[in-house]
Symmetry: C2
Subunit: 515 residues, 2 copies
């Protein structure tokens, strides 16, 4: 058994069943090992950003890591943006990067790169395998490190000779750590804050955005009146009818500051203290009122759900949460706008859908409210702000949950970063319906230009935010990549095409042209 | 004047006239400065790999740097692969990366990244501007550093507040360094090696691949009989009828070893010692015979052309080089194959073309021989091995040399890494004809799989090299991105479509389906 085969088998024994890959020569023995470890599923992406984003989406849904197989430093760099998003989502990802043979690296041939330093900036776990005999153990360690609470990117660098040399040994899985419990004293202190009568706000994130956490928070707010916000970018938010619904902290700084205004106590449960996404001239970065006191019920490595349930037992021993109901499914009509498209999706969203949301400004108006009243679903958001995440995450989600429909809500500009993902959707016959919101602009930048106080006389700077001249034709692009596509310019057309797409197996794209 | 405006004006004063950009919120003031410094041309790329590859292609042709404007760490990472290629090409590129405001970085908001460490792995020049008053001087220093012989990637990190604060000062251009001269003793020593009668080989690279260097080498070999090879991946090779033609050192290790076999002396002139691109089990990495003595006439930072001319003056004071002539323009016929497509291009290549070559295995058979006998042209190659370079480099070349036709020879798999480049070709109405060689595979990996001695039973591993299921339809993809496209399946169709495309202004794509 060579080193590559031992790594492949160890990964499988450790619960890793999917290898998203864009390999090169240095990874050939690892690829060949797919034929000797047949339970590992290999999924090709035509660009590394697809591979890493898919690994992120897979793990958010499946609750366990996949491997992202990358080719040396340039492959890692191409996949970096979505590893960055995975890092911010605290998603467990095993990132396997092939390298030149150990004895070859000193020649600094063209593809030679400092993989370790690039991977190090992801602030996760990095190891370079030194021998075929040890590579299996390194793979087991990487898999466990990726899942060390709350989850991280674990990069295993595998030199070509470590892969091809014989002497590989399959390693036992490394036992996984549990999230650390929150002490009773902390829970009791937060309970007294909430009962103290001063205006308080509970900001929740991470695992608290899943059903058990939401139900506990629902009980807490019903009993104490504490205001609740979700973190701006949950990795996975369970939402829709039958669950308690809470607003998310706004991306727009002004709105976030208004959401937090007037509180005396800010309680963090699996979320970080709220800070403006970008800095703006003359504006504070911190969003909570200056005189508000911050309390930490649980940080991201804690068992936040258990802490919330313990808190609920104190403040609401018998109370239940308020639950949302499915709103009437009224379909809008007329030309598609930044507002009514979301109403169409909300009305027709299939039960149990996984929604990969990279709708950007097109989702600003009312997507959140619409989804809260939609059937039960999981929402995956753009956790790290590096656009080009939505289409790949949808790939991974569809592979991680093959029995659930996946809906991608995708802005035009962001789609173009990793448009190659559509091809993988076609090859793997994934049940993904992408709604491509085409407003022919990086609309977020037009909006941010004003926020940062930049003045332009218009045309030359503005041309860098404009995506017309020429218009992107996403129907042709999608068809060229193997995904059947249609165009909608009215709400009626979007409703018809969306209903048809979700009813048919396999991938579809609907270009929603917004007026 | 704010910091951003001072940077923009300083860059322009230092000779930088084009800003390839994919900006975000942190770069808004720099973008706005385009309206106050109107001579700077802003060119939008829909993905950062387009932006950095275009900056590389521009500088290879224009002989001076452009700016690549990127958004924080994820933007730098997305552009990294083509910066890596630029580094290996020794291309001067000013890579301007926006960052969060200095006071905002400590909050580690979602897009916060260790830009300096990522940029550091490019082994060029990195500086983070600390004040609006100093940013102009930083920009002047970056521009000079990029051009320090032989050329490099200079990364200037520009925090948002440094951009937006007033007090910017335009800086004077920093005088550029010249390549260091080679001493007379070195030249004389090489002359005696070449005259010594032992078998010798001259391996040339860098500026030696331009006309003056080639002519000097042509004189040297005509007088001494020394064998000559060009480095495998020249950044820019001047070639075609009327110039001396030399073989390139092969990418395939076996062939390279054969090319170098039997020599007693290896003389390096602007090229690195030949080493196998990848390592292969049981095979030496170094390609020259073990007993060959290596001599360095000029390293990459030396004035290699002056050194070669001095050498020619000693060994061939009156001799001229042998020059190639345009071969008969016989057009092949029948179904397109990996061999005959190149003959079509060679026969119809327009005079003075710039050829961006990322044809990969499709160019293995006879592209080099065909181009040597074609009309005079410049050839830009994949210097760093990170695929996804060809289409962006063609963008930059077309902007750097607006009066010359640009021809892109592009493999299918590599095209998909930065396919977004076609949109920029359309927006800027660039005179680029892309011949998209579709063999429905990562053919290089099938070939390398054998070279590295990996055995597969076939289907599961092989699926990761296969680009069919579904077939990519590059005609639709290209049209979706705004570039008119046609398909050719025979040599006659390719000849007709290629002739039509180069005769019409603006971009065109021809999908050449290889049997």
């Amino acid at each position: 058994m060579n080193g590559a085969q031992s790594v492949m088998q160890t990964l499988l024994d450790s619960g890793v069943e999917v290898c998203f890959a864009n390999p090169g020569t240095s990874e050939m023995h690892f690829v060949a090992a797919l034929d000797t470890v047949p339970r590992m599923r290999g999924v090709l992406g035509l660009f590394e950003g697809v591979v890493t984003g898919a690994a992120d989406g897979y793990a958010r849904v499946a609750g366990k890591p996949a491997v992202a197989l990358l080719h040396l430093g340039p492959g890692l760099a191409n996949g970096y943006a979505n590893l960055h998003n995975a890092r911010r989502a605290a998603t467990p990802v095993v990132d396997l990067v092939g390298d030149h043979a150990t004895y070859h690296q000193r020649y600094d041939t063209p593809l030679n790169t400092d993989i370790r330093s690039i991977a190090g900036t992801l602030r996760g776990w990095v190891r370079c395998s030194q021998s075929s005999a040890g590579a299996g153990a390194d793979a087991a360690a990487a898999t466990a490190a990726a899942q060390d609470p709350p989850g991280r990117v674990a990069t295993l660098i595998l030199p070509a000779d470590v892969s091809w040399n014989e002497g590989g040994r399959v390693a036992e899985p490394v036992p996984l750590s549990s999230p650390s419990p929150v002490g009773d004293a902390t829970v009791a202190e937060i309970a007294s804050v909430l009962r103290g009568g001063e205006p308080a706000l509970l900001l929740i994130g991470g695992a608290a955005c899943h059903e058990a956490g939401l139900r506990a928070v629902g009980r807490i707010t019903a009993a104490t009146g504490v205001r609740v916000l979700l973190e701006t970018w949950p990795a996975r938010l369970e939402a829709g009818a039958g669950l308690p619904a809470f607003e998310r902290l706004a991306y727009a700084n002004e709105k976030a500051v208004r959401q937090l205004a007037g509180i005396s106590h800010l309680v963090l449960a699996g979320a970080k203290a709220p800070v403006s996404f970008f800095a703006y001239p003359g504006i504070r970065s911190e969003q909570a009122p200056e005189n508000a006191e911050t309390h930490v019920l649980a940080d991201t490595a804690n068992d936040v759900v258990a802490a919330l349930e313990a808190l609920a037992e104190i403040v609401a021993p018998r109370g239940g949460p308020a639950l949302t109901e499915t709103a009437g499914r009224e379909l809008p009509s007329g030309r598609l706008t930044g507002r009514n498209w979301a109403e169409v999706i909300g009305a027709l969203l299939p039960e149990g859908a996984i929604v990969s949301d990279e709708s950007m400004t097109s989702g600003f108006f009312n997507l959140q409210g619409v989804l809260a009243a939609a059937p039960r679903h999981d929402l995956l958001t753009l956790t790290g702000g590096a656009i080009g995440q939505g289409l790949p995450v949808a790939v991974g989600a569809a592979i991680g949950a093959p029995d659930r429909p996946v809906v991608g809500l995708q802005a035009d500009g962001a789609a173009m970063y990793t448009i190659q993902a559509l091809w993988t959707q076609a090859r793997e016959s994934l049940d993904v319906t992408t709604v491509l919101l085409n407003n022919r602009a990086y609309a977020v930048l037009r909006w941010e230009l004003e926020n940062v106080g930049a003045r332009t006389s218009g045309s030359r700077a503005g041309r860098l935010f404009d995506l017309s001249e020429p218009d992107l034709d996403f129907v042709r692009i999608s068809e060229g990549l193997g995904v059947p596509a249609a165009r909608a310019t009215t709400a009626e057309e979007l409703a018809r095409e969306f209903a048809r797409a979700v009813a048919e197996p396999g991938p579809h794209l609907i270009e929603a042209v917004l007026s």
